[in-house]
Symmetry: C2
DNA sequence: TTTCTTTACACAATCGGTTGCTTAAATATT
DNA sequence: AATATTTAAGCAACCGATTGTGTAAAGAAA
């Protein structure tokens, strides 16, 4: 096997007896290069298998056209859809995407933020790790005018772009839907310790919906979970069903939890939705497949990704407007399916 | 907001009255730098918020410590687990990961391969797009000694690293399991047009298992699908159930198809597994959650990712051995769950 | 004391594409 | 015909980390 060297613009320049700068300009259709030359250069570039070295371009121009994504994991449906959205928007503007998984660890998030900065990404899209309380490791981006967009799990006290849904309203709508279906004792699962506001907001919506419909709030119908997993959901639901007066409805702030609830109910001979109506959150693929289908709140993951990516790309092009540090709210919808349709 | 410049080793050098080269060496504990100097340099580097510019290092050293991943999509459970595996192995050796989705389009794969090359990734891990017949766009890596590893959906005629499972054996084992459960008429779903060998191999295993157990092969029990989706699965299963003598078992080469089969059967009042036993493939999360649980073939996604990443990292360190272009086979297991357990 | 080896650091080239400035020729304007 | 403008392309600095080579000074060996 031969040892090829990467083909550079200098190789092309030599072959055509032109200056490297001419090659560089010709390849980007610079106006000061004649059409003949441009055609000739592009032709030979292709023949020689020239591929520009983005490192060199990035180093010189301080522009990498790369968006860094820093999220807990790629395996959650919501997050992998988010990536898809980012990736599609990025691709349109010829940006690359570099992905890092914090696995919900604060230390990893810190390290990876550094690594992204080290790679001189053009912008960063982040959904915070569960563990993260302090967000000072993101200052390096803000301080160097690298656009930073938080998505979904966002810090409350950081002055930058945020793309979120209205979790309060979503929680309210979900709960209201259950009330409208005739539920009188609606349970809710939430996160035990949270540094963001995501689950708290959903819970607030739940509470307000109840109060607004004159349904007394009952502490024993609200269970805080350490982890939002299937098994944790099963355990919690069993506790609920063991109550003297068990709930007749549940707002689960995640579809996996909703699935666990539906299945636990079925196992105990509790009819869903007649005796126990369930609504989840996210519209994960599984919610459509499981039987009965799970009613859910849509979480526009791809749209959020697209919005976040566009914020970065736009912001890099436009002049910096201080007032652009806005929050983008995307809409959610109640998707009524079998698990909660009683009337 | 102040306009910070990125802190460079020159800034540190100036502050400490040292040469930039000394700073560079001190930061990597070069033996020719005194401990005092090293300590002093690291200290001020931290104080000044220095973060090395990997572009500069990559340009100079032609080493980026970045692994490029080129896959159809991140949303498939198998592939997102694959990424996780790669990412974890990469992280251990301080490599970054850059992900691109071909969305099963040949043209996108070509473009993205170019982009990865343009970014001078250290190595590439790829699972081919469905559309891809020609793999010449990967030659740029081979020609420039950039390690290339194909995973799962691999070309049959490309001389490079491959990390796969034994699809033939897996198909054989799955089918044999159904036979052992007493199934006599076992159906199979497969891909209509395939340029790789993945589904063909599974089908070969299916056929051989039948023949070996003196079960006649019946063409009408094998259905080729355009897409391996839930809906396509439902349609195919309805065709199967409409046969004069419908099947009493199914080997589906994907869990989504298995789920569709189980649910279609249930809807038609066919008892699973008693009248119709099903085994899937991949051990997707859903296979454990759906009721009845789906028997399946494990597909060691994380392990494959880990193996692929390690191949790249190892290969970059070690001297090039021509005979290293090997195929790594990882094991699969039959996971017997409710959907096929009759005895 | 002289010579050899470490130790400690500086100088300058290098990676490859970009871009401001300059030169030179061709075309347009007065 | 003289000057202004446009077109075409070259020169060289630059981005920031790395590394081979060079050069002192200090310590070790002869």
């Amino acid at each position: 096997m031969e040892e090829h060297r990467h083909v550079t613009i200098y190789d092309i320049a030599e072959k055509l007896n032109l200056a490297a700068s001419t090659i560089s300009r010709a390849l980007k259709d610079h106006h000061s290069i004649s059409d003949k030359t441009i055609k000739k250069v592009k032709q030979t570039a292709k023949e020689m298998g020239f591929v520009p070295n983005t490192l060199a371009a990035g180093l010189r121009g301080n522009v990498t056209k790369t968006i860094g994504i820093l999220i807990p994991t790629v395996t959650q449906p919501f997050l992998s859809s988010l990536i898809s959205g980012i990736e599609i928007a990025a691709q349109k503007s010829d940006y690359s995407v570099i992905i890092m998984q914090s696995h919900d660890s604060y230390q990893m998030e810190v390290d990876m933020a550094k690594s992204l900065y080290s790679n001189r990404v053009s912008g960063v899209i982040c959904s915070l790790a569960m563990e993260t309380k302090d967000t000072s490791h993101f200052k390096q981006f803000s301080n160097n005018n690298i656009p930073l967009v938080f998505v979904d799990r966002v810090p409350k006290d950081y002055d930058t772009f945020r793309v979120v849904i209205n979790n309060y309203l979503a929680g309210y709508k979900a709960t209201k839907h259950l009330i409208e279906q005739g539920c009188k004792r609606i349970a809710h699962l939430t996160a035990e310790s949270e540094f963001g506001t995501l689950y708290n907001e959903r819970k607030r919506g739940y509470i307000d919906a109840l109060l607004e419909h004159d349904i007394p709030l009952q502490d024993n119908l609200i269970i805080s979970l350490k982890e939002m997993t299937y098994d944790a959901g099963v355990k919690a639901c069993n506790l609920l069903f063991d109550l003297k007066t068990p709930p007749d409805g549940l707002f689960a702030p995640g579809d996996i939890l909703a699935v666990s609830a539906v299945q636990t109910a079925k196992k105990r001979g509790i009819k869903v939705p007649d005796q126990f109506a369930v609504i989840g959150f996210n519209n994960d693929p599984i919610s459509e497949i499981i039987e009965p289908n799970i009613s859910t709140i849509t979480h526009p993951a791809e749209k959020m990704g697209k919005a976040a990516a566009e914020l970065i790309i736009k912001n890099l092009k436009s002049v910096k407007e201080e007032d652009a540090k806005e929050i983008t709210f995307l809409n959610t919808q109640v998707l009524i399916r079998e698990s909660s349709r009683k009337i």
